[in-house]
């Protein structure tokens, strides 16, 4: 009982805060747009030669890239959302949740889920725009893609929360997030297929939860995938669960000294 109430109210809080902070929302949506427009349109002319689509599993480059943009939006939005934990430290609200009798797991899961829901909504907005740029995407794949997106978001909000519980300054947190964001994006198959990567990059890509979200969503949106879509969903679920469990554990042990 107490668990559900606390979970629900933390979702309520995160969504309510999201609605009142529109500038942050705008940035997370603009970023992928910049990528797809400048990077995507630029390269799509380079990959215009006969046989080029074979590199991208039979897709033209702009469709290939567009199908990855929803994962990118959700990934970036959810990872950085952990910064709100640091704000809560600075503005004191975290203490309010630390002295509450509600189970800490409920508080942190509710918080992660609330942020996940908002980033999936952003991902949905980007996806709608992608249909304009890449008309080849499949409408029937939207719902499954959003479900994958929710799992991806849970994983990376949790990782963001874990990191921000350990960092006391927004600068420190943002540094580590920026340091991880770009390599994880490049080793996920969003911009180019994993099969063409050097072996050491492949190795990283295989443990990157983003890889399976990208591949799974691409399967639903274009019919093309690198792995078996069932593997995608299973591995994404496992990695997400691991990251979520880590966040719960870290928050359960949190004291005011951290």
């Amino acid at each position: 009982m107490g668990f559900i109430k606390a979970f629900y109210v933390m979702v309520y809080r995160q969504v309510k805060r999201y609605v009142s902070a529109r500038s942050r929302v705008l940035m997370t949506v603009v970023n992928p747009l910049i990528w797809v427009v400048f990077f995507g349109l630029g390269w799509s002319n380079v990959f215009n030669f006969p046989g080029a689509t074979a590199i991208f599993g039979g897709l033209n480059y702009i469709t290939y890239l567009a199908s990855g943009m929803i994962s990118m939006t959700i990934f970036m939005g959810s990872f950085i959302s952990g910064v709100s934990v640091i704000w809560d430290k600075q503005f004191g609200f975290l203490k309010e949740t630390l002295v509450a009798p509600a189970p800490r797991s409920a508080i942190i899961l509710g918080r992660a889920f609330g942020d996940s829901v908002t980033t999936v909504i952003q991902g949905g907005m980007i996806l709608a725009l992608m249909f304009l740029i890449a008309p080849g995407l499949r409408v029937e794949g939207v719902i499954p893609a959003l479900i994958y997106g929710l799992m991806l978001a849970m994983g990376f909000t949790s990782l963001g929360i874990t990191l921000s519980l350990k960092f006391s300054s927004t600068e420190g947190f943002q540094m580590i997030v920026n340091l991880l964001t770009m390599p994880l994006l490049f080793m996920s198959g969003i911009f180019y297929p994993i099969s063409n990567m050097p072996d050491w990059m492949k190795a990283v890509a295989y443990v990157n939860p983003l890889t399976y979200a990208v591949d799974g969503m691409r399967y639903w949106l274009t019919g093309v995938s690198n792995f078996n879509p069932l593997y995608d969903v299973a591995l994404l679920a496992i990695l997400t669960l691991a990251l979520t469990a880590l966040a719960v554990r870290t928050f359960e042990k949190a004291t005011i000294e951290d």
């Binding site: 109430k5 809080r13 509450a100």
Partner: protein
Amino acid sequence: MVEYAVVAENLIKRFKDVVAVNDVSFKVERGEIFGLLGPNGAGKTTTIHILTTILKPTSGKAYVAGYDVVKEPAKVRSKIGIVFQDPSLDNQLTAYDNMFIHGRLYGLNGDALRNKIFELLEFVELKEFANKQVRYFSGGMRRRLEIARALLHQPDVLFLDEPTLGLDPQTRVRIWDYIMSVKKERNTTIVLTTHYMDEAEELCDRIAIMDKGKIIAEGTAEELKSMLGSEVIYVKVVNNASCVEANFIEKCVRVRENLLEVVVKDASTAIPKLFDVMTSKGLKIVEVSYRKPTLNEVFIHLTGRELRDALEESGRPHLGPRAWR
């Protein structure tokens, strides 16, 4: 047998190189307002953090509402309300939402929660601002909102950490009124910390004076002041002071090397006599002041420093709250 709302037994909290709380023990009876008075850095906030389960003591035991704060933190949390020294509101949400979230975290819901929220917002005179975002609130309004929030789940024990810090005099008096009516109307046990002597004297049934991590005196304001007697004269001399004796002097203590504390019945007649006695002993007086004993004099008596000076010299050492930044 008296049941205690709060029991602290030999609490010690060590941070890396500072002992913030050094063997602190006290008991608070049900329905009492108990004050921890002392300068910043005395260990008051750290003590409160231990009692409210968000900091683990290095050693020692503490029980709040009958539960062990280390072994049964969830039970303790459901019985206490706390107003932290630093604000802990969500600025981006409305006053109502801050209360609502708190209520749900404490297991309340539905109409009961809604009614309770408005009742308490009315109590702290914020009802008309219920749907305004907290970031537009003044310091006093925020503090009142935090008090209302802490009362939402009807705690047995209410902790107030420096409840009027940084507020203007009128607002302080208003907060005091709320605190007194909480005690009167709900019979809530209140533990508060303060470095304002007037606040401790005004509100607290019993006061523990803390300095450098230790409780150095404990009792009602009257008991503490009676440690000093009727009136106190402070005599500053040029060089090393030594105590003087005479039949009109009840007590003489050398609190600093050039400062004497002389306790007498009636200071206005004693001062001229004191001049004679001291001159005859060859002590050259540079400054004389006298006061009716207040808690400040008690603090000087116990530590040789003014509470005010102690505030300046301590300048907040790197203890708990600082580690947040």
